[in-house]
């Protein structure tokens, strides 16, 4: 694939991930716990995992985290979102590629959410210089199971819809035709 086409696909996926995460406020969250978000942007990460390479997936996560940090004016947020995003993307990618026989998209999403929350809390405990924040881990892990299941369910439907449409293949095929 031409490098600019690849970057254009990444641009669209990152923009969609940010836009979708902005829409979270419009969807009622079943767990009213401070710090718990549905994590709808994870749907785009899961779609990218299903159709793109690890390098592209990580690039999508990094650019998304940097853009969100720039726009929400939060430098420290970058450390939290990058650690959580990268660890969960890496974990989900490895499981999807090597153990997809044993895990459904929902299961992979739950594992991703658990990794995400664990990484974020670990960074928080490192920054605070104390392990006391880790008492919050069970709360976050429990919520990760619920939110991961919801985003996983949405991703599963979205991925199968995109597969039915042969959507990503179409994008690459179009490029092959365009190429001289």
């Amino acid at each position: 694939m031409n490098k600019n086409r690849r970057y254009a696909i990444i641009t669209i996926l990152v923009s969609n991930a940010i836009l979708i995460s902005l829409l979270e406020s419009l969807i009622p969250i079943p767990i009213p716990v401070p710090g718990v978000k549905l994590g709808l942007a994870n749907i785009i990460t899961l779609i990218a995992i299903a159709f793109l390479s690890l390098k592209d997936v990580l690039l999508i996560v990094i650019i998304r985290c940097v853009v969100v940090a720039l726009l929400t004016r939060g430098v420290m947020m970058l450390a939290f979102s990058l650690s959580g995003g990268l660890l969960s993307a890496l974990g989900m990618f490895l499981i999807y590629r090597s153990m997809s026989k044993y895990f459904s998209i929902k299961g992979i999403s739950v594992i991703g959410a658990i990794l995400h929350n664990t990484a974020q809390l670990t960074i928080a405990s490192l920054i605070l210089g104390g392990l006391v924040v880790l008492y919050y881990l069970p709360v976050l892990l429990l919520s990760a199971v619920v939110t991961g299941f919801i985003t996983g369910s949405i991703s599963e439907v979205a991925i199968s819809e995109l597969r039915k449409k042969d959507f990503f293949k179409e994008q690459v095929k179009a490029e092959d035709i365009d190429e001289p």
Partner: protein, 258 residues
């Protein structure tokens, strides 16, 4: 999320690189301060910068809120669990060594660190910010990573968000009613409806794929972002003011005053 360019004020006009160095030093200073008077001076200085940068109350509230949710709430929760466990089980394992006042001071220092970052990002135009990021990532460029391409993608994402953000929000709000499932369904969420909406967003936005690809191939990185060090009168004044504050803090910490 704020896609607007910062207002034209003295802080926004300062060179982004010089401002970054001053911001980094300023965010580290609280960790070297011990005396309450030093913190008072620092808070006054940050208040002055806040007025100078014309930071609106909404930005301040959001910054405080996200800091509270991400850092303070988990800490207070952990502290409460630790205190209750120690009180009711008398098990030494649950005793939390760090005192509340020491931790409160650390949380305050971290907040100042957080706030300086917010001020920097609030008062710096995005293209200069990405330009500075490009210079900071020079070692990675040397290692062969296509940083300029990645930053071009980043700028394109920002452009796409500017163009389609409000439109997507409007579309989603229109679909909101159909996205809430009936009351019997799990968590009242219409999973299939949300998934189909996301797929339709994706399919719609992929219609611009060729256009974005063309833009990416035509546009040079320099057209999207740039940074050149500029040291003029405002920068010299800012550095002077910063050094004066540092000197003041040194005098306080050394015990020569207050």
């Amino acid at each position: 999320m704020n896609l607007k360019a910062p207002e034209q004020n003295l802080l926004a006009k300062l060179d982004a690189g010089v401002k970054l160095i001053l911001a980094i030093v300023l965010s580290i200073i609280p960790f070297f301060c011990q005396k309450p008077s030093s913190f008072f001076v620092l808070v006054l200085f940050l208040g002055f910068l806040t007025i100078l940068a014309r930071v609106n109350l909404r930005t301040l509230r959001n910054s405080l809120l996200s800091y509270g949710i991400i850092v303070i709430f988990p800490y207070l929760f952990g502290f409460l669990v630790s205190w209750l466990s120690t009180r009711y089980s008398a098990n030494a394992l649950f005793v939390y060594e760090q005192g509340f006042s020491a931790m409160a001071l650390r949380l305050f220092k971290l907040f100042l660190f957080w706030y300086v970052g917010t001020l920097y990002l609030h008062s710096t135009p995005l293209n200069s910010l990405v330009g500075v990021l490009d210079k900071c990532l020079y070692p990675l460029k040397k290692l062969g990573l296509p940083i300029a391409d990645y930053l071009k993608v980043l700028m394109c994402v920002l452009e796409t968000l500017k163009k389609s953000g409000s439109e997507v929000r409007k579309k989603f709000q229109e679909k909101k009613a159909s996205l809430s499932g009936d009351h019997k369904s799990l968590f009242m969420l219409n999973i299939k409806g949300i998934a189909q909406t996301i797929v339709s967003f994706l399919v719609d936005s992929f219609q611009n794929l060729d256009q974005i690809q063309e833009d990416l191939s035509k546009i040079e990185a320099e057209d999207l972002y740039s940074y050149k060090l500029k040291v003029s009168k405002p920068e010299i004044m800012a550095i002077g003011c910063f050094l004066a504050i540092n000197l003041g803090l040194y005098v306080i910490e050394a015990g020569h005053w207050l």
